[in-house]
Amino acid sequence: MTDAPRNGTPVEEPATPDAAREMAFHPLLVDLAERFPHAVFDVAPPAAPSPDEMRVPVPIQDEVQLPVAQFADFMAAAREAGYETFLDLCAVDYLRRNPRFEVVAHVLATAVPHRLRVRIGVPASNPSVPSITSVYPGANFYEREAYDLFGIAFDGHPDLTRILMPDDWEGHPLRKDEAVGSVPVQFKGSHKAS
């Protein structure tokens, strides 16, 4: 194995909106798809019910890609549509792709059940995303984590400070251009060696 930088940045195949529209939407998503024409849905193909199973298989997870500006509005609409449980929010650094960052949120409709993944492309020049803490209070720590580790700012967050790293840490360690480095420790002299 070599230490050369990996050149295999995940390649994104552009989803065609028209093709996605023709797919069968999950009942929860129909209204959302109408209200947000710029959203690119990637819905799982409907599975045929198999006769030997008691349960009719339903797609349990769908995905939607959104412009940054619509993030908060879409999440508010999704919560109204029935995705009442906040599950997760994280960021991914694709480094060589444009837009470089991606904020990925997962929300859950427990009663249906259905899981929705929302992906937001975030450019490196202006890494800023509307905060969804007013919609899902649980996003608070997750947005702080994404800010801490990736340097993505969440506009409207009540307390956007570092959460895992020390307050005066420089840099955002989970970015791909941050090396796996060492930390100064309390033994004297050791900080000179690093």
């Binding site: 295999g8 449980t85 997760d88 994280c90 209070p137 720590f141 100064p184 004297k188 002299g189």
Partner: protein
């Protein structure tokens, strides 16, 4: 403590030995303090070269000004950014820190509390003391080594982490595991839940004063850990469930050990309930304490026993079945009040349900392979390497590069002992993950602590904190 006197300030008793003549002009503060120490305490001044040659491994602290990161680590530079001064309107109101070294915080959780007498008015959880960058580490480890990383996150139910990672990788690979491997995984995960809940009831009891509970819970957990040790060789951080199956087949006589667990643990649980369930002190300290409503659980992403105690029927094993768990019959216990007592009842019932699943696995354990026969993922048997060139190549590739996983992104949820443990895995087609994000259930639970703790008493706060069962390895990663 007052500031250390400066060497040039003149407030030092006259040293018996003159300061060295070759004092460097731009000496640092640490050097000053060390020299001061030498003069003041030891009364001797050793030559510079002696100190340089002998200070390897010395544990003298650096000066605060020298390394700002260190002063934050030590807690000498802490900005109380959360508490506004102007809201403190009473002499009784004070801000204290609970943790990160407090024994009842179950690790290195730190809570900043604003107290009004005995009442907690505001809470700010401060985390990160155990952050070791495991998500960054995951990007540097091939998939073959990934499990040994994730198993250290939630160290009290490590099998759930391994299972979640393995299922995510298998989703991208598009491989299925043999029925026996799936059954072994279910067995280990459910027993892991039992061990975790036993530890929880032990520490919960101890935190609210039932010291004997600590010993009892540990006693039964030891039986389960003994089985884990017999199967995996380790009591924790097992690295046993791996992409493609499990690391090794169950050892001979495993049925007897599971039978022992199935005999000992229910007996123990009955004992705990005899000790706790009707105990007026226990009831006083748990009923109506640390209440969280179902809506708050959903909004804050709280899952697992905490949410089920509040009446949410969400269990990943039922809602999004994975790994063959749907073949087994079990109930999802649900509470009603969302308080500490209901969490206790839910966890006790979950122990019984998990033991029931283990009983079913024991009776229906299918024969066959314990890992997939896909040679891209599973190394060939040793004897094949001597016979087959292809086997040699596969062996070599797996142990040098690892196996490549098709590009894609995938979310996998499993029900760990603490709730919905999710992993978001992005692959770029190489042998290492491009990004692995772990959604720890404890992370959400710690975030919801202010909801549960605000306007409660300090003593109740300890009880509530214990009932959320946070594992800081899971929170900080």
């Amino acid at each position: 403590m007052s500031d250390p006197p400066s060497l040039t300030g003149g407030d030092l008793e006259a040293p018996t030995i003159e300061a060295p003549a070759h004092t460097p002009v731009d000496r640092d503060t640490a050097g000053d303090r060390r020299r001061l120490h030498d003069l003041w305490v030891a009364g001797t001044e050793e030559p510079e070269w002696v100190r340089d040659a002998t200070d390897e491994g010395a544990q003298e602290l650096l000066a605060d000004t020298e390394e700002p990161a260190l002063s934050v680590q030590r807690g000498t530079l802490v900005a109380d950014d959360y508490m506004d001064d102007d809201t403190v309107d009473s002499d009784e109101r004070q801000v204290i820190n609970l943790g990160p070294q407090h024994p009842s915080t179950h690790g290195v959780l730190r809570l900043q509390l604003e107290l009004d007498g005995e009442t907690v008015r505001r809470v700010k959880p401060i985390i990160g003391y155990l952050h070791t960058g495991m998500e960054k580490t995951a990007e540097t480890l091939p998939y073959t080594l990934g499990c040994t990383n994730v198993t250290r996150m939630d160290y009290l139910s490590p099998f759930a982490n391994e299972l979640c990672f393995s299922l995510a990788v298998e989703q991208l690979l598009g491989i299925d595991v043999p029925p026996r491997a799936a059954a072994i995984r279910v067995l280990m995960c459910e027993l892991s839940r039992v061990a975790s809940h036993l530890l929880w009831v032990a520490t919960q009891g101890m935190d609210i004063g039932a010291i004997s509970m600590m010993i009892y819970g540990w006693r039964e957990r030891e039986v389960v850990l003994g089985f884990f040790e017999a199967v995996t060789g380790l009591r924790m951080n097992h690295n046993y469930i791996r992409p493609g199956g499990v690391a090794a087949d169950l050892p001979d006589g495993w049925e007897d050990e599971v039978e022992e667990i199935l005999a000992v643990v229910p007996h123990g649980v009955a004992e705990y309930e005899e000790l706790l369930s009707g105990n007026p002190i226990f009831l006083d300290r748990t009923q109506g304490i640390g209440v969280i409503t179902p809506d708050e659980c959903r909004a804050y992403g709280v899952t697992g026993p905490i949410a089920r105690a509040a009446g949410i029927t969400y269990d990943v094993r039922k809602v999004f079945p994975y790994g063959g768990i749907e073949q087994y019959t079990f109930e999802v216990p649900v509470g009603r009040h969302g308080d500490v007592y209901d969490r206790y009842k839910v966890r006790m019932e979950e122990i019984r349900q998990s033991l029931g699943i283990s009983r079913q696995v024991l009776e229906t354990m299918p024969p066959g392979d314990y890992r997939t026969e896909d040679r891209k993922v599973t190394p060939p048997p040793r004897r094949r390497i001597d016979q087959s060139m292809e086997a040699l190549i596969h062996h070599f590739k797996i142990f040098t590069e690892g196996f490549k996983v098709p590009a894609g992104r995938v979310w996998q949820s499993v029900e760990s002992a603490r709730g919905d443990l999710g992993m978001y895995l992005v692959s770029d087609g190489s042998a290492k993950p491009w990004r692995l994000h772990v959604r720890g259930p404890s992370f959400a639970a710690v975030q919801a602590l202010p909801v549960m703790l605000t306007d409660s008493l300090v003593a109740d706060m300890i009880s509530t904190l214990a009932s959320t069962d946070p594992v800081l390895g899971d929170v900080d990663r």
